[in-house]
């Protein structure tokens, strides 16, 4: 349909946005029926996923590798511009793909954690969160970024707080996230404000041109202040060490499906935003050569790989353990981007995708345990391999991926990341990356041994395998991670193009 084809970039935000609103309307008209609310969300999320794939194909087909869409037909710097290139097309794919898979997963998981009469509201917020994250990624306008960031943040606070029916601590976690998140968002707004003041425009490409056109912009204090505010704010959004404190609590106490969705998408969109700002607006030269931004980011990233991974080893709640492990994985991504060479950035971008698939699948598996047992302490995993073999197999395969074992997607990321470190000549980072995988072996192996080699203690609850929708969703992500661990040419090809695109754009 030409209408859809011509308006793809904006449709993929509008569809989930309106879908979310309609979910409330449907709930009001027909009453809160479990499968109605879920079915509608599923329909919308899969339609969005289809639109994203269409967009991706458009980008691949376009001659210079990007698609530009003018909102309301207002061109360029005057109107709002949506720009899709290889990089954000890839992030869009992650967000929409995970959104579709987790919505499928939510069918059994969510009603067990949220009262029946709130379901249509839940799915409304859920779809709005998807819309927000997709919007941040697709837009080429900085103020639009801020608005959509607020949409996605406010919805995430709400989604996390809905975990209160299973775990009262979700409320506190959400409140903490709200405070930190709001500070972060206001920092970002301030940063954007300074840039607007300097350049008189909100369009990203135009902003970069405006900055470069300034007299002696490298010495300009206002640019520096804008840079500092933006980077600090974005570090909070992506939970980069040491500004990560909001994340473990939020991920631990949120409903399982919400954790699986946010863990695989929200922080990654944060990473994407940070490097979009650094490369596309400030330019690679300003961020890395004029300011030692690279060193600071690399130090933060390296600490993120080591310290939270160590903390992960000692966790007794598996969701919390995975949350700490996610912090380490964010370290990998930031490290790859900050290396600013093609191999490292390819590794980082491909890891956005790979980690989303692996960790999403693992959080889903843990969610299935919570669905059956009611909690996910490490002790509950003892001998669970015999009782929930399929769930635990998915969990284990995902774990091997986190370790970076060959033939899993994690290995592909590690391979390119290591190459990036070696090429940049940062030997300590090579050791850090390897330490990271050894630490991953340690926290994962403990669980693996418990799951498969230890017999369940006396009086362990008799549980059966997770329901099929949960298993299908979990395995679809895990199999994706395995598939792209073996046939990585698609992901690596996309990531490679995105990396060179980003490096050239900043020149």
């Amino acid at each position: 349909m030409p209408f859809i084809d011509n308006n793809l970039p904006v449709l993929l935000v509008i569809v989930p946005l309106l879908g979310g609103l309609l979910s409330v309307v449907l709930g009001t008209i027909f009453g809160s029926k479990r499968d109605l609310a879920w079915g509608w969300a599923l329909l919308v999320s899969w339609a969005t996923f289809a639109l994203v794939i269409e967009t991706l194909l458009d980008v691949v087909a376009s001659p210079h590798g990007s698609v530009v869409y003018n909102l309301g037909s207002w061109p360029g710097p005057w109107g709002i511009e949506y720009v899709v290139d290889y990089l954000n097309a890839f992030v869009l794919l992650v967000v929409a793909g995970i959104g579709a898979a987790t919505t499928l997963y939510a069918r059994h998981s969510i009603p067990s954690e949220i009262p029946g009469d709130r379901l249509h509201v839940f799915y409304a917020v859920w779809l709005l969160a998807i819309a927000g994250l997709l919007g941040i990624t697709v837009t080429g306008d900085t103020f639009n970024v801020y608005v959509l960031l607020e949409i996605s943040s406010l919805t995430s606070y709400a989604l996390i707080a809905m975990g209160k029916h299973r775990d009262r601590r979700a409320l506190l976690a959400a409140l903490r996230y709200l405070i930190i998140g709001s500070i972060g968002a206001s920092f970002i707004l301030l940063g954007i404000g300074y840039l607007l003041m300097l350049t008189g425009t909100l369009n990203m490409a135009d902003m970069h041109a405006g900055l470069v056109a300034l007299d002696n912009y490298k010495e300009n204090r206002t640019v520096l202040v804008a840079f500092a505010f933006l980077l600090t704010g974005l570090s909070m959004k992506m939970a980069l060490f040491p500004l990560h404190m909001w994340l473990p609590g939020a991920y631990t106490h949120a409903p399982s499906a919400v954790t699986a969705f946010l863990a695989s998408t929200a922080t990654k969109v944060g990473v994407y935003m940070a490097f979009r700002f650094m490369f596309t607006i400030f330019g690679h030269e300003y961020s890395f050569d004029v300011l030692p931004g690279q060193k600071v980011l690399l130090i933060c990233a390296a600490s993120a790989v080591i310290i939270p991974n160590m903390t992960a080893i000692r966790q007794t709640d598996v969701k919390r353990l995975l949350a700490f492990s996610s912090l380490g994985q964010i370290g990998y991504m930031v490290m790859g981007f900050a290396l600013a060479n093609e191999a490292g950035m390819t590794g980082a971008i491909v890891h956005l995708f790979n980690h989303a698939a692996m960790k999403g699948g693992m959080f889903m598996a843990v969610g299935a345990v919570i669905y059956r047992i009611g909690r996910a302490h490490t002790a509950d995993f003892t001998g669970l391999g015999k009782r929930m073999p399929w769930t635990m197999a998915a969990f284990s395969v995902g774990g091997f991926g986190l370790v970076g074992f060959p033939l899993t997607a994690g290995f592909i990321s590690k391979w390119y990341l290591l190459q990036g470190c070696v090429q940049a000549g940062y030997w300590p980072l090579v050791i850090v990356v390897l330490m990271g995988s050894l630490l991953a072996v340690m926290y994962f192996w403990k669980l693996f041994e418990q799951i498969w080699f230890t017999d369940a203690p006396e009086g362990a609850p008799e549980v059966s395998e997770a329901p099929p929708t949960m298993l299908i969703a979990t395995w679809s992500l895990i199999l994706t991670s395995i598939y792209f661990g073996v046939h990585a040419s698609f992901t690596v090809g996309m990531a490679g193009k995105a990396a060179s695109f980003l490096l050239e754009a900043g020149q």
Binding site: R176, F229, M236, M245, M310, T311, W445, A488, V492
Partner: protein, 580 residues
């Protein structure tokens, strides 16, 4: 003809995936059919035009050269399939699906590794080897096997990481995937790869995983383990570092030190594990000398060793299965009820001791001859070391094993003869040992030395008068010494004991370092979050804010502290310009 032959690892790897779903009877069939089919496949490869057989695979944006066929890889290809076949037959009686599955998959990984044409492919199979084989260690059941398996995995993961880093460094240097060929020890990358091979081949100090894990496994598990991992490493050394002088010295040490441990060791399977390091020492020496003759000797000895060492492990496995122990103190006089096993064990003992007409005689002597006739450097000292090591082999493997297990003082035990599958497998191995020993020239034709571009040519005949006489003298006097010592009651008695090896280093020193140094760092990791990072904000809050921050570990950070930390980060970014 391009797609006529399968990649040699596929029959075993794909076949192994089917194994767990078959009934016991069908599994037994498959255990024979899979390796046999694989062997035919390799023979087919050997007769195909070399130009026709390459296989490429896209992986991670690279084109992998997954199939490189030359005489060296073919020789190990035959060897590993024969070993898998023997191992398969030997494990007929095993009911555990997991062991059959991992055993065959493990063999497939080894085959894949030796046909790998580039380092990344090698690495992939390297890791697969580690993961499949560790399940064979765990199959031993019990706490000891589980712990030994963990240590085994750690050694092999470290080896894999070194190989990975070496490969990555080479890729970064050249921008393309390095083919796996001869390397010089002139860069950090090649050192890492050297060390990776070294851990797997059992360099001194790194050897502890061999004596640790092998005796912990089941009877058939040990057989599989002894065949593939170290021999894959021998192959890689021969391919990558032939002629590296350092290997001569390392190999000499590997020949010597296990002898002493083997003499005092009570567990006969551990004796065999030490003996294995000693035999690998001969191969490492051969690779280090790096002439056509010596490398031929090394790979030929690897071939023979898999068969005869396997045979010895099989006979001990049979004893373990029937008696439940392989401790010298628990055994003795078993020949009365296990005559077949005794006979096969004696064939293995004769082969490993290099008695003429058995396989060890025609393979090990090549290495010794190469050492004696090496021109660029005087290696007489090495020849004497090897000679002494040979006497040691005769003592601990040739005499101690069969003597203590089957003869010596009668333990009064009358276990049943080994199951049929075991006996057939041992029979095949025995026949192979004797065939290689009696018809060495046919076997020599398979040897790859002339293709490797090394110094010297390969002309060797083991059955010369001098060689036979020297060897018989050596055997006679060594045997006389052992029995003489036994008569005089000077021979180290079999005592149930635990002997201290370099594993003290790994088990005591490293855990010590862990407990004293690294562990606290781990424990402090959350405290770092709390204290080091939190101190400034905490002090700030204490001074400027309301309420007291809670610093206990695992407590969530108070919001005030986080906000102060945010300010710190912001000032850090703002201060950047000062340093630029």
């Amino acid at each position: 003809m391009d797609s006529y032959w399968m990649h040699p690892a596929l029959p075993l790897l794909i076949g192994s995936l089917i194994l767990p779903f078959l009934s016991q009877r069908l599994r037994q069939v498959a255990l024979v059919v899979l390796p046999a089919f694989g062997l035919l496949n390799v023979i087919g490869l050997a007769s195909t035009e070399a130009a026709d057989i390459t296989r490429h695979m896209d992986f991670a944006g690279y084109v992998l050269d997954v199939l490189r066929v030359d005489k060296l890889s073919l020789l190990f290809g035959y060897l590993f399939h024969i070993a898998a076949l023997i191992g398969g037959i030997y494990s007929f009686h095993v009911k555990d699906r997991m062991q059959h599955f991992t055993g065959i998959a493990y063999a497939g990984a080894a085959v894949g590794a030796i046909f790998a044409g580039d380092l990344l492919t090698l690495f992939l199979f390297w890791e697969l080897l580690a993961v499949t084989s560790v399940f064979l260690v765990w199959a031993g059941k019990g706490v000891e096997a589980r712990k030994a398996g963990g240590r085994y995995l750690l050694a092999h993961i470290s080896s894999g990481l070194l190989l990975l880093i070496g490969t990555v460094m080479m890729v970064s240097d050249t921008g393309e995937l390095p083919t796996f060929g001869h390397m010089e020890l002139d860069s950090a990358a090649s050192w890492m790869i050297f060390l990776a091979f070294g851990i797997k081949i059992g360099f001194p100090i790194f050897h502890t995983w061999i004596v640790d894990a092998y005796p912990a496994s089941t009877a058939s598990g040990t057989l599989f383990l002894s065949a593939f991992t170290t021999k894959t490493a021998v192959y890689c050394m021969a391919r990558g570092f032939a002629g590296e002088d350092m290997l001569i010295y390392i190999g000499a040490v590997m020949c010597l030190f296990p002898i002493f441990f083997a003499v005092i060791e009570n567990d006969l399977r551990r004796v065999l594990s030490y003996s294995m390091i000693n035999q690998i020492g001969f191969m490492v020496v051969g690779i280090g000398i790096g002439t056509t003759l010596s490398v031929n000797g090394a790979v030929a000895h690897a071939f023979a060793d898999v068969i005869f060492k396997g045979l010895l492990f099989m006979s001990m496995g049979a004893v373990y299965l029937r008696v439940g122990s392989t401790k010298g103190t628990d055994l003795g006089g078993l020949y009365k009820s296990m005559p077949w096993t005794t006979g096969f064990c004696l064939v293995g003992a004769a082969s490993i001791s290099a008695v003429p007409l058995f396989s060890g005689f025609v393979t090990k002597s090549m290495i010794m001859f190469a050492a004696a006739t090496y021109q660029p450097m005087d290696l007489t000292w090495l020849w004497f070391i090897l000679l002494f090591a040979s006497a040691g082999v005769l003592e601990h493997a040739g005499i101690k094993i069969p003597y203590f297990a089957f003869f010596a003082h009668d333990s009064g035990k009358r276990p049943k003869e080994a199951p049929l599958g075991m006996r057939v497998a041992m029979g095949i191995s025995s026949v192979l040992c004797i065939l290689i020993g009696c018809f060495p020239q046919t076997f020599y034709q398979l040897l790859p030395g002339d293709e490797l571009g090394l110094a010297g040519e390969f002309k060797y005949s083991p059955y010369t008068l001098t060689h036979i006489v020297t060897q018989m003298q050596l055997l006679f006097f060594a045997a006389a010494a052992v029995f003489g010592m036994m008569l005089l009651k000077k021979y180290p008695a079999e005592v149930p004991s635990v002997n201290v090896d370099a594993d003290v280093l790994w088990r005591k020193l490293l855990p010590g370092i862990w407990k004293k140094a690294i562990g606290p760092v781990f424990l402090a990791s959350s405290a770092v979050e709390e204290r080091l990072l939190g101190w400034v904000p905490a002090q700030a809050v204490r001074t400027f804010g309301h309420g007291l921050p809670r610093l206990a570990i695992f407590k969530e950070w108070p919001q005030g502290s986080i906000v102060v930390l945010i300010t710190v980060m912001l000032s850090a970014y703002l201060g950047l310009q000062l340093f630029s």
